[in-house]
């Protein structure tokens, strides 16, 4: 009973602290769920023991697939085609520079100081790069509140967060295909490319069949059950073939948003479930976390520093290269520092992989980054937005000509 009281008091204290921070310091965090996970987990009270965590594995695997579907749902073609190309170029520059900087830096550190071979280090380095690239929509939401949804700065932050998610999911899928565990049930082991094709097929076929299955369904509760079934099925299929559920989930979300007649209802549903699943992932992450290891301290600090440089520097370089400094300023990358569920999902996904190298390091880096950036990302995004003019305009050299949208 004492243990239960400890858990309840710990959770409530953390919840109270987070509520207070949210009210007084513009901090939006799920830290209380992480604390709850730590308290419940084997390193806390043990109420959520190894067996219970094993039992919960389907839930957090599902959370990963759901996260992918929620990300894919952001890619609605009618809006994508109306978005000026320069916004994509800017987003891709920031995203890829962050990936290269963090991935390259982590690879050097892991080969030099981590005792891994050059090939072995590629896997954790690439996963760290994917974690680093992921950014939350927090900045865009704050900007939307201040500037209104049709403002170009808001759109840029939305595009950047979406492209970050796309790049992160692509990196995870590619690298897990490259390091796929042997299958032995078929005469010839599929190549990494074939594994990627299989993951794509799971998402595309699942999405297409689900579109046919759903038909003209309008009732929200029926839609929920059907969507949940489809996400569970797709996630399960990906998990069964040993691939990340993020890519098939992403494709399912992409097909859904572009085919369903109930786009808004489904979008709202994915969003609402996304949040509890994020918290559930935090609880599981807290329970699974082994933060005591001191050997991860330096690499985690290095990861945080590299990510900061990558995001802020990448955004600055992107703005300069694309000639839009006058529109978005030098500091717009600060609004992308916040991380959300996708980073946790990638780290959890990786830690479940049978071929994972240094999973605790990757996990700790992701959790520290999420918790740390939660503390100040909203404030930073607000400051960035406040420094921009109310009506952001693209320079005439990069603005789309009439008829090209925008």
């Amino acid at each position: 009973m004492l243990l239960v009281l400890l858990v309840v008091v710990g959770y409530l204290a953390a919840r109270f602290a987070v509520d207070w921070l949210a009210r007084h310091a513009l901090v939006v965090s799920g830290a209380e769920y992480l604390v709850l996970g730590l308290l419940l987990g084997p390193r806390g009270t043990g109420l959520l023991g190894a067996e219970a965590l094993e039992g919960l594995k389907p839930f957090f695997t599902l959370a990963i697939g759901w996260m992918g579907a929620a990300v894919g749902f952001r890619f609605w073609l009618p809006v994508l085609t109306r978005t000026p190309g320069v916004l994509y170029r800017l987003a891709f520059t920031e995203s890829l520079l962050t990936a290269v900087l963090v991935g390259g830096g982590a690879w050097v550190l892991l080969v030099d100081g981590g005792g891994l071979s050059a090939f072995e280090a590629t896997l954790p380095a690439a996963i760290l790069a994917a974690v680093a690239v992921a950014s939350s929509l927090q900045g865009a939401r704050i900007a939307a509140k201040s500037l209104g949804r049709r403002n170009l700065a808001v759109r840029q932050l939305e595009v950047a967060a979406a492209i970050d998610a796309l790049v992160a999911v692509s990196i995870v899928s590619a690298v897990l295909a490259l390091f796929h565990a042997p299958v032995n049930l078929i005469p010839r082991e599929p190549t990494p490319t074939e594994w990627v094709v299989i993951a794509l097929a799971v998402g595309l076929v699942g999405g297409w069949l689900f579109h046919l299955f759903l038909g003209d369904e309008r009732s929200p509760d029926r839609l929920f059950i059907a969507v949940a079934g489809a996400v569970v099925l797709t996630t399960g299929a990906a998990n069964y073939v040993g691939m990340s559920a993020l890519l098939p989930g992403f494709l399912l979300g992409f097909i859904l948003v572009n085919t369903t007649r109930q786009r808004e209802v489904v979008g709202e549903m994915l969003d609402k479930v996304d949040r509890p699943l994020y918290f559930l992932m935090l609880v599981c992450a807290g329970a699974l976390w082994a933060p005591a290891a001191t050997d991860v301290f330096v690499p985690v600090l290095a990861f945080l520093a590299l990510r900061f440089v990558g995001k802020v520097g990448g955004a600055w370089i992107g703005a300069r290269v694309n000639g839009v400094v006058s529109a978005f300023g030098n500091r717009w990358g600060f609004a992308l520092l916040g991380q959300g569920g996708l980073a946790i999902a990638i780290a959890l996904d990786y830690s479940l992989s049978p071929t994972a190298q240094l999973p605790n390091l990757v996990f700790t880096a992701a959790l520290c980054s999420v918790l740390l950036t939660d503390l100040f990302s909203a404030r930073l995004a607000r400051d960035v937005v406040a420094s921009l003019p109310e009506d952001v305009q693209l320079p005439s050299s990069v603005a789309p000509s009439e008829g090209q949208g925008g």
Partner: protein, 450 residues
């Protein structure tokens, strides 16, 4: 038709990727689970088209997808999904407890307890008599001497008489029913859980004294009694804790309820108390002790999320049904099911005095008591621990009876509620396509289930 074709294609796609799984690994639980949800969803819709409860569709889908029919959900995958099913039943128990109103319990508690004891007593006696009369066809009684036969028939009757809070909750939610019969049925099924398990524990104690078995049930009879008696204070403590926590948790109440159910389940396992009763009590205390509107708000949040939980629970319950075994036992099962139904009808008629129920409402009440689900299986497992051979054949018979009652019961209860004019009286509009506002006593699925 379109959905059936898509499901067939999905089934084919699942078979196609089968060789790509890890060597020696069982089919992934999530993969089969996702398929099961979609099949259950389609079957539920089909069932509704024939004016039958959706949960019958969910159960049938589970049976069809399960290991004994199409085997798209294998026994290994079903075992992997047990935690999901356990969590679903924990949530259902928490919600069922939350539906009970303290004032009503105070006002009609004794009358409801009397009704529970009368209907259970008559039905148990009838089942006991029937089992004794048909003992030569019942494997665990056929070769037993008279003393052993009487004791085992008694244990069997107590297991076979149990009701199903989960099915009653699901039907009340689906039909948005509210009224005297609906409330009385819910209260009686909840009370009967405690009464039956207590009676079972006492009888098992006697059986253990008279017929030493192959092994003592883990911890002995004292532990079984603790499992029940201890559930109440632990449930109260959990409920008070939830009520206090609701003062600071104003958002994400569904995830909060999920965590509370998960925590309650783990605490119950750790302290060796009955999960179902612990969570029933916790739900009841949490909602009735919470400050202001916190309790009703928690209840409504859970009601809105209930439909997927029911799909999951009943589809998985269907997976557990062994069709060939049930078919083999049909000559014994059919008379036992019929005798139980008649006994329940008589028991309700005799015991419902003081509840001011009309004939139609009384009929709805006994029809609500017909359904059975998985709790009885837990009791058979305890018997099987002490008397492995008798326990195994008792389990097969109990499962067959549960399978029939679990299918017939919901159909009867839904019809009973329709006849009693309590369907769609749950305080909210029957809104199939758009979110409706929550009424004060509303339960149902007119609003999105998140």
């Amino acid at each position: 038709m379109r959905r059936i074709i898509v499901l067939a294609l999905l089934f084919g796609a699942m078979r196609l990727i089968e060789p790509l799984g890890r060597a020696g690994g069982a089919p992934d639980a999530l993969l089969t689970f996702g398929f099961l949800i979609l099949v259950a969803y389609a079957a539920g819709e089909l069932s509704e088209r024939f004016r039958q409860p959706k949960l019958v569709g969910y159960l049938v889908a589970g049976v069809l997808a399960g290991p004994t029919v199409l085997a798209s959900v294998t026994a290994e995958a079903a075992a992997q999904l047990e935690p999901v099913s356990d969590l679903a039943i924990a949530l259902i128990a928490f919600l069922a407890g939350a539906e009970l109103d303290l004032e009503e319990v105070k006002r009609r508690g004794l009358t409801l307890l009397r009704l529970t004891v009368v209907e259970l007593g008559i039905a148990t006696l009838a089942l006991f008599g029937a089992a004794m009369a048909m003992r030569q066809w019942i494997p665990f009684l056929a070769d037993a001497d008279m003393q052993r036969a009487i004791l085992f028939a008694g244990l069997f009757a107590l297991i076979a008489v149990m009701h199903s809070p989960a099915i009653v909750m699901a039907i009340l939610t689906e039909t948005r029913a509210s009224g005297p019969a609906a409330r009385a049925t819910l209260a009686v099924v909840l009370l009967s859980e405690v009464v039956v398990v207590l009676a079972f524990s006492l009888l098992l104690g006697v059986v253990q004294q008279l017929l030493p078995g192959a092994a003592e049930p883990s911890g002995g009879v004292a532990l079984i009694i603790w499992e029940i008696a201890g559930s109440v204070p632990i449930g109260i403590a959990l409920g008070v804790g939830v009520a206090l926590a609701l003062r600071v948790v104003h958002e994400d109440r569904v995830i909060f309820a999920l965590l509370a159910a998960l925590l309650g389940q783990q605490v119950a396992h750790l302290l060796h108390v009955e999960v179902l009763i612990t969570l029933l009590v916790a739900g009841f205390v949490a909602v009735n002790v919470a400050r202001g509107d916190d309790g009703p708000e928690l209840r409504h949040a859970m009601e809105r999320s209930a439909t997927p939980v029911f799909v999951v629970f009943f589809a998985l319950a269907g997976v557990a049904i062994d069709v060939p075994a049930a078919w083999q036992l049909a000559p014994v099962v059919v008379p036992l099911v019929l005798i139980r139904i008649v006994a329940l009808a008589i028991g309700v008629r005799l015991g419902s005095g003081g509840l001011e129920l009309g004939a139609v409402q009384r009929r709805a009440l006994w029809q609500g008591l017909v359904a059975q689900a998985g709790v009885a299986i837990g009791l058979v497992a305890i018997v099987a621990e002490a008397y492995p051979e008798a326990g195994a054949s008792m389990r097969a018979l109990a499962l067959a009876i549960i399978a029939v009652n679990g299918t017939v019961g919901p159909i009867l209860f839904r019809r009973g509620l329709e006849a009693a004019d309590e369907k769609d009286k749950g305080g909210r509009e029957a809104a199939p396509s758009t979110a409706a506002s929550d009424g004060p006593t509303g339960r149902g699925c007119g609003t999105p289930p998140w």
